[in-house]
Symmetry: C2
Subunit: 349 residues, 2 copies
Amino acid sequence: PTKPRNHVGTHVIRSAVSIDKEILLSESPHTLLRESDGDGNAIRARFQQMIMKAQAIVCEAIEEVDGVGKFKEDAWTRPGGGGGISRVLQDGAVWEKAGVNISVVYGMMPPEAYRAAKPAATDLNPGPVPFFAAGISSVLHPRNPFAPTLHFNYRYFETDAPKDIPGAPRQWWFGGGTDLTPAYIFEEDVRHFHSIQKRACDKFDPTFYPRFKKWCDDYFYIKHRGERRGLGGIFFDDLNDYDQEMLLSFATECANSVVPAYIPIMEKRKDMPYTERHKAWQQLRRGRYVEFNLVYDRGTTFGLKTGGRIESILVSLPLTARWEYDHKPEEGSEEWKLLDACINPKEWI
Amino acid sequence: PTKPRNHVGTHVIRSAVSIDKEILLSESPHTLLRESDGDGNAIRARFQQMIMKAQAIVCEAIEEVDGVGKFKEDAWTRPGGGGGISRVLQDGAVWEKAGVNISVVYGMMPPEAYRAAKPAATDLNPGPVPFFAAGISSVLHPRNPFAPTLHFNYRYFETDAPKDIPGAPRQWWFGGGTDLTPAYIFEEDVRHFHSIQKRACDKFDPTFYPRFKKWCDDYFYIKHRGERRGLGGIFFDDLNDYDQEMLLSFATECANSVVPAYIPIMEKRKDMPYTERHKAWQQLRRGRYVEFNLVYDRGTTFGLKTGGRIESILVSLPLTARWEYDHKPEEGSEEWKLLDACINPKEWI
């Protein structure tokens, strides 16, 4: 199988959807699904169960390493069904800002998106089609400039079968990835991180890691800088040309790999001594993080346009960031090495 | 005259232009115009002269108040003509980052933009038309949380007469504005600032201040927050339905009003004692500044897409900024009052 041609699916949805205003809940719900989606064997229910579990596991691991900070939880629903649960730890000992969000969206998608989802469907011409989307999204920003920021996101889209075309099938696809954004390179850390991503990929398909590693380098690209946001990992979108059960297992494996990929690095770096210079460079790289997320990241720009819950969407932004005019690290310095690896992505394993 | 209907002009240009890579100069040029534009009586030459003078006057006033910081100058040209001069003061005693840039662009605009510039021209159908654009753009971020950020920008666009349509005229328009972004409200400061803007407007047309004040409130709107970036001022775009000499004088008057509008406020606020709380709130508002500039500001998003000089475009970003999850100022507090005025724009004079 090659990189899917149907890359337009999610994008068309993103340009056309607008979401009801959220209603905050006083306690966390057991499900964000509509009652009619109660069948626990359906993929949407199993995917929700997976992301809820991943949210719990990651938050527990973060709290344990942090020792001080605790996650605060906000949950909401929407009148049309769906909702979200945000967990945010701020001002911890190790992490200055860590967000782990899950959300479920029900909406209507334009016919183009349905047609784009599978080449075979291009001759079908339905009206607007109801869709379901669920995902987990997380950004973890540590204090220590030698400790890397981590981002991961796994999501599942599914349409109903169009009612106006007898026999037209339901469409579905998976997307997501996990990537690492350090301010300084420790090769052993980056190799460890990429090895865990490769191990998760290799359990399913030997082509996954090389494809999704490159996809990640291509996606997290700050075009106006000619730099990637960080040192990559894996990224994939609109994935549907494999067995659905296989892809659910793959997304699950990826989500389960977050803790073993990230926590050992944090244990090593969280208490390393550092100077003002290291902190200032970390802050400049956090500025690049803000530039990518506000200018290019599809999830963020989509969320801002469609009226998603702003505080949950923007929890990905660092606690603090810095922009100096025309800053250029000295050639050969540790800062320069990081920048070079962001400009010229490397093979780490 | 009413608000011009031809608002599309600049926008169509912005979506279609791509700029040559800049070449840094070792010293500042006397002109950024092509030699063929050497006629000092033409509007483009007089506008360039005006923005060069404004750049000098504003930088001199800033350096005098700052006492410590000095502007560093970078100048560049482009192979096809045009270029820019950036002056940036960083790490001053009063301002942590202050940028005052001028630039001149020569390019080709698509026929739609030409047609949109004047209703009478909609039946003309030329090929791509050469255009000229020149502007001054400045953002001044002080250290003290009681001292406001100032932004101003004045620009002039002009097309050639389309060669393929005998008798079709040259088109031109002016745009710009000056606006104030404090973290705390001192009513006397905001009234002073708006009064100077009104005085500049009233010299030309009594409808200018109320129209351009509202236009400013509408433009500097962070849609996903439902907040304005700051407390406004004046803003106008695509202005061409007045005498051209009058509008050149008006833009000149506005640029000359920057120092009397801003410097007296800075003199009063630059040394006020403040606490960590004040600084943290200023930093959160700087985060909003970043959100507006990267997500909505046309000059910034245009510049990032078309390959303008990135360091000059992004000098508008603050030295540092902050994002806290779900921060809400206490009702009735000074922070809340500022936020309220950003959500519900007020008449200050």
